[in-house]
Amino acid sequence: MSNLSVELQDVRKSFGKSEIIRGANLKVPKGERFAIIGPNGAGKSTLFNLISGRFPVSSGDIKLNGKSILGLKPFEINRRGLSRSFQITNIFHRLSVYENLRCAVLWSLGYKYSFWHRLNGLKDTHERAEQVLEQIGLRRRRDTLAGLLTYAEQRALEIGITIAGGADVILLDEPTAGMSRSESDAAVELIRKVTVGKTLLMVEHDMSVVFGLADKIAVVVYGEVIACDTPANIRNNAKVQEAYLGGHAPVAEAGG
């Protein structure tokens, strides 16, 4: 059994003629928190879409817990223990917050496509949904339609749906984008709390979030992982400073 949660081997992805991901390699050990940073258009979100099965890869291999997940559909990858959130909020707008979370736990608890169980009679589902509700701090909004939540609340629900199924590999795509400082701090605490003991991969632009949360940082530039190291080493990495920062070095500022 591999001790790697996620492994990318020379992953390539082209849209038409343009190659967006050009031979990305990455090894994410179990239980570590990885942040993926890089300039706009570097292919960070595309990388997430490849790992979660949203797009097929053009070549290369992606392994989840040591097994290749090439050609699997998103729901199949999810069933193997990988769950992701989205950069643009992706929730069930016409269902209440509670129902959103309840939907997110149903498969993992084995109810699948059941039409013979009474939903309100499922204690384990109820308890798990309530537990996540408490964790993401939306108890007060339990019965509000998800579409009516504030932006920050929707982002919290987005994370809630992602972790509710108990997946051990979590991918978060810009979880704090568009948040105020205090909202973002709260989100960092939330992420820290709900990903204990899990493998976390996170695309993030906010450097204080990155340095606050990540064990390792992977830097993606032009579809390649040019460096992957601890935050301290990344900060002092000349290659990163040159390629990613163009000499300006806000990484060092934000980190320092």
Binding site: F75, N78, N90, F92, R94, L95, C103, Y113
Partner: protein, 430 residues
């Protein structure tokens, strides 16, 4: 009051729900005693079958966001299988009490759900709608290719009175058929309501709202749609079987695009967003198609107009109109809207009245003027070729339309304010 709502919110729901079902059962029992004149019994029977059909359609439209243009396929084929089974049973070849004949229809509907649904549910949204349209045409054209099964132009007929009486019930009299339909309606409605309270029933809502995210929480959305369609086909088939018993005939029209379109109309008019909406739609729809067609040749036009008005001004259907008004009443704010609401309703009615006079005169003039241009309208003899009738119609329409334009802004404002306040109250209470 606002402080207590949060704590007692869920306590009274269950008894209330039981009360609603009990009331529904009671209503089904006493309806034929209240409406006991002339054709009302056959009207009630038909409403019952269409209610089941509309509820099954709403499993797709309301709960799954699947706009089907071919749902009559399942009801119609269910009807054919049920009627053939009844004929076989009457000939003594199989054992089938008439009480269970709808079940044959249901199983047939389900079987074709398994067959056709596999193709249709591969896609969602517009492609799904297109494929259902294609399947509908396909099955309809089959009716010409297999006349032994579909009975050709004349359809397949039967006699529902066969075999020995069961507890003195022969299903000869219409009242006995009514209670058979009422029984199946009650059972089916409970079944379909129960579906909404199961894991699959909730996940189909999730798939409706956001199919992509549903894939990322472990669900194969195609499979979710497929299973829902199969179950929906089962209930559609039951309604087809009941319709076969009720009319003692099933024709190719029962699987046709017209029947599929009608159920879409009815469900939308009733309101796809509420479980009981389609039942209201079935009542209105059957009433309009059966009763109105006795009074006027223009009934299609009225149904179409009604549909357009609902789509434009009340997209949530009649059910939503009722529920919103009830909410306003519940919060004690009806006093602030009823005046402007009455003004809008009255002017609408006036304009509608004028339009009806005009439409009826036009129909008479173009279709029946060979036998004289005068006809009776609302108890008055009118010469459809002369100016006075047209003037009255035009004046009513104009006054109504102007009144509507004048009254609408006030109503919109009052209605918007009241509902915004209510939502604010709800938010604060939560």
């Amino acid at each position: 009051m606002t402080t207590t709502t949060a704590t007692i919110k869920f306590a009274p729901v269950l008894p209330l729900r039981w009360l609603a079902w009990f009331g529904f059962a009671l209503l089904l029992c006493i309806a034929p005693l209240v409406f006991n004149k002339g054709a009302s019994l056959s009207l009630l029977s038909q409403m019952g079958t269409v209610m089941i059909f509309a509820l099954s359609y709403n499993m797709l439209l309301g709960q799954g966001g699947m706009l089907s243009f071919g749902h009559a396929v399942y009801a119609g084929l269910g009807g054919f299988f049920a009627i053939h089974a009844m004929n076989l049973a009457a000939a003594g070849k199989i054992w089938l009490p008439i009480t269970l004949a709808p079940l044959v229809g249901g199983l047939a509907g389900m079987l074709f759900g398994v067959l056709f649904g596999y193709v249709t549910t591969k896609k969602a949204g517009t492609p799904f709608a297109m494929i259902t349209l294609g399947i509908g045409e396909l099955v309809f054209s089959c009716s010409l290719m297999f006349p032994e099964f579909f009975g050709g132009e004349g359809g397949v007929s039967t006699n529902r009175v066969y075999g020995e009486k069961f507890l003195g019930i022969s299903y000869g009299p219409q009242i006995e058929v009514y209670y058979l339909i009422a029984f199946w309606l009650f059972v089916s409605a409970i079944g379909m309501y129960a579906f909404t309270q199961t894991p699959l029933g909730r996940i189909i809502n999730a798939v409706r709202d956001n199919p992509e995210r549903a894939e990322f929480i472990g669900y194969d959305t195609q499979w979710v749609r497929y299973m829902t369609l199969i179950l929906s086909g089962f209930f559609a088939g039951i309604s087809g079987g009941l319709s076969a018993i009720n009319f003692e005939i099933v024709t190719a029209e029962n699987v046709g695009a017209h029947a599929s379109g009608a159920i879409l109309f009815f469900t939308f008019i009733g309101g796809a967003g509420y479980f009981f909406g389609p039942m209201i739609g079935a009542i209105i729809g059957v009433f309009m198609t059966v009763m109105l067609s006795d009074f006027t040749k223009a009934w299609h036009l009225y149904l179409g107009l009604f549909f357009i008005i609902i789509v434009m001004y009340a997209p949530g259907g009649v059910a939503r109109v009722i529920m919103q008004n009830l909410r306003v009443v519940e919060y004690g704010k009806f006093g602030r809207v009823w005046r402007s609401m009455t003004a809008v309703s009255a002017s609408t009615l006036l304009a509608f009245f004028g339009a009806v006079i005009g439409i009826e005169m036009l129909y008479h003039l173009t279709l029946e003027s060979a036998n004289g241009t005068t006809r009776k309208l609302f108890g008055i003899m009118v010469d459809t070729a002369a100016a006075p009738g047209w003037l009255v119609a035009g004046t009513l329409l104009a006054i109504g339309a102007i009144g509507f334009r004048l009254a609408l802004p006030g109503f919109r404002r009052a209605w918007g304010e009241v509902n915004a306040e209510i939502e604010e109250q709800i938010r604060r209470a939560a």
